[in-house]
Subunit: 318 residues, 4 copies
């Protein structure tokens, strides 16, 4: 590199501004301040807001949303349902666990803030199932099983896809992610659905009826969606199956993702996909070579509400 | 608590011994030293060796092994195949990614130590797919697809279970996890198999043939295994689908796991199952109330070989 | 525990509310939503806001602030200076690195948002010193050395305390943490000051002059502050020397901290103090047995602005 | 890059070998297997062994050792003392905490393996101070204070350096790091010594006697050591003050470190020095541009004994 280029490069960079906070400032203003500081994950979050805004403003873009982790028990499901309601998610990929906890709330049960003075064996005795500092009473699972038995009993006696099943479930629920997705005809894919209490109930149902859950049946619809996508963007909350399933979906087309945001608590050096950088995804062609992409490392119970509230503000006021 | 009990409790505790290393010491001796020190994850690893030894010596125990993360590209697949060969794994649950990379090696391709001076866009241009510091050339995927097309063409035209498919694949391979499992008739479950390149090939195959991969068909066999298990133990490498699928499997019986070891790089405070403590699993009844259980936090490319080499030494020399 | 108590305990717990975001909502409103969800680190952050609010409203409380990590280069110094300005910090403990970078900005140099397309050897060639994604040009250090030489030349020829030195430095600066602390007569302690470029300059100065930096001279003032404190609270950003120095300071009095908030990216299982839980500090008596305390795991470039903006809003509007 | 160069680059890379374990294998053999696998932190650990072996075999090299974290309470102090004994450490930099716990053991007290069924408030009542899963009884601190009062009483009434003080303490101890360092005249630097119980005792002593602990007095000796070093190498356990103090020490010479190994549980994306990559240190000139350097992420209670045992084996048998 020549000296001129070097200097140009150096002078192009922006100064770090010391953050100034104001009482009553909006979330969008806070994230803007984080961007003026611009460093580490605070800077990344601000860049994520810019990319997510671009992705949502770009009408040619099919928006994928990946939801892993125990996000529904942590109250993050409301954000996802709201994004579907606002037309900001075109394809949702999630886990059996998030589906189960969404159904649990959709049939009227609630997760509880945990009081962790008790040991886990004591909680077991009290019929409380723990997810870090959230408790779910056994009763919720009894009601879930009852609901599923009834619901599955109404299904046709044939092979169905996972997204078909989740849509039918969503149609029966009062609110939540699956209910909102069903109402808006947004497909919900859940490749590892059998890795959840849903799986057991489906199995029990299939023992007495000629019912088959076809593992790969969703692939056709997903392929069609990918081929039809002029451009593609992904917001990935956590890693796991949703992250990989979304990123690999575009591999079957000549294109890669044009926008990608990852909110993860994992780390790259362990080699697992959940913590892998989005740059790594460029080597596979999962992201296009000039994709706008950023990873924000941290707990999504903080980064997701912050990101989405800031972007909603920009889209509304901007 | 009375003073007597308090004193008894205090005098029962062991002193921390400063570690002494000797040139040429065996891995088992090193892990023993770690146990005499006994603190943090070094102490946990030493306790894990004790629990794993007990679990392997206890003939009444059905041994589950969960393999998540990108462990095969990192050379950890050899340990798993060896444990199957030695009769130390009764049930294996893994991910589509580990299955794919195991097949890739089984058909004669190799993963490469990465030279990360290149950017990911450059790697893309060179046809190298990156997994942290491991590269897999595009060519491996071409050969994989060819292998799968041939193999799938020989399958019966009907619905099959995921474990049936993986066994048939294993029978065609020269070596590796699937090959060894097939040879020893060890079931390999892979609930999210469609979240991998396997899934796409299976879908393509099913387009021209009346072939269905039944998502829940493995449940019956797994339930039978769980009911038949007098006692149950689990070694969980990484979290993800394998961890949950294994732990939830015993929920359908009146029993929980009696032994459980978790090697994970995740952390509990993010709420995700991958980093959740094994104590949390007690509240769900996934572990029995008096289960011997320990979590070792760290990269499994270090903790898994260390743990297994130490336990093999104990079982052979002990 | 009897059934009644068990039920009381269960009914006392609050339900997890799914988060609802509104465009233009204030940071305080967002943190309130996080509290209604209440799980994982989002829940912890909301509890931290409650504790910090209580601590700032409680006039009997001496407020300690610990600043570790490379927070000034990341633009977080503005928040600390602002809190001093608002009278919300009584004692500041920080690191040599934060002091150095605060001086660098105070004499008019700026940190730059890094463009990480260059290798570190290339950056070296360009005279850019990297702190993750922040760059500081060599020139800043030349100007720093010049400033320090002049400033030290004006100091008395005798032994001085570290806080005396930092106050004198602050008096010479246009703005930033040290300048604001000096203006408001807030003591700044920095036990490991020699572990920074400051140390080298002080050493060089002491070679030609009878000048001694007395490592323990600040102890008397700190002890007096601790004994005088009716109640004590601490906001700890990162761990390191500031965290321990603050927490151990109250050990010399019969009291412990009554309020404590820790924002850290570390984790407890490695045994280091930086990631240690605040509960662990209760065993040492560093926290009083009924202290209100919470740890928020995550990057402080996100959690610190979020926490402080929310609490400023509560104090202003509440 | 031309095609030839591209191919050369690709063919130069080594294949990942699946790990093979043998009962009774030595630690050196295990680390060699990890190197043949070569991925993630297992691969990094094997490269660290190669670099540490080279550094120890290279007689022109001055070897620095940085010891942060609560390593002595975890039993890792024995490894450090042993390396000093074997002549493999020329300069040690550590924390006040490690010094305090080393003295505690040197005067005959012991740390205990913790039984964490008790809450921290209960431990407080029992006089047990907790460090994750290690307990230290209050009695140890009483004996420590008594020892220090006596020892300090014998010191000259003048200003002394921190390393002078630690050497005098080491001379009074039966065993451990400080004792071994004193016996072998290895300097121990501890910039933040006042951030520990030592600091308080020194302060109390200085109240009644004209005794000053000179914060910067060690700088001259350290500068001389750095200038005299033909080549320099560093093994850094944890980050904190020791890591920075060591790495910045060579900045005052025209040279940088030629070898550097970092064992850390931190992560780079938070911006803190403890988790910063060693590549970042190249931009500062702390490492020479062609330095051999590697970071192993993980708990040092696992990685340190593994690394050192493997290298001792190579040096003895190789």
């Amino acid at each position: 590199m020549g000296d001129d280029e070097r200097i140009a490069r150096m002078t192009a960079v922006e100064p770090v501004m010391q953050i100034r906070l104001r009482p009553g400032m909006s979330v969008g203003e806070l994230v803007e301040e984080m961007g003026r500081a611009g460093a580490y994950n605070g800077g990344a979050l601000s860049r994520a807001a810019g990319i997510y805004e671009d992705m949502l403003r770009d009408d040619r873009t099919t928006r994928f949303f990946g939801l892993a982790g125990a996000m529904v028990p942590a109250g993050m499901g409301g954000i996802v349902a709201d994004l579907i309601e606002r037309g900001m998610i075109d394809v949702l990929v999630t886990t059996g666990a998030n589906a189960v906890h969404d159904i649990v709330e959709g049939i009227g049960c609630t997760h509880l803030h945990g009081n962790i003075a008790s040991t886990d064996n004591e909680l077991r005795g009290m019929g409380l199932n723990r997810i870090y500092d959230v408790f779910l009473p056994d009763d919720a699972f009894l009601r879930l099983e009852e609901f599923l038995r009834d619901m599955l009993g109404d299904l046709p006696d044939r092979q169905v896809s996972i997204s078909f099943l989740l849509r039918r479930i969503g149609e029966e629920l009062a609110g939540g992610i699956l209910a909102t997705a069903a109402r808006h005809s947004i497909p919900v894919y859940c490749p590892a659905i059998q890795d959840s209490i849903l799986g057991l109930q489906i199995y029990l149902h299939s023992q007495s009826r000629p019912f088959i859950l076809d593992a790969c049946a969703d692939m056709k619809e997903l392929l069609d969606l990918c081929y039809a996508a002029e451009r593609a963007g992904a917001l990935l909350v956590g890693g796991g199956v949703p992250k990989n399933y979304i990123l690999q979906s575009m591999l079957i087309t000549p294109k890669g993702f044009d926008y990608a945001i990852q909110l993860t608590g994992d780390r790259p050096d362990l080699g697992g996909l959940s913590g892998a950088t989005l740059d790594e995804a460029r080597s596979w062609g999962k992201l296009s070579s000039d994709a706008k992409a950023v990873t924000v490392y941290g707990d999504a119970t903080i980064t997701l509400p912050l990101l989405v509230a800031a972007v909603l503000e920009r889209l509304t006021h901007g």
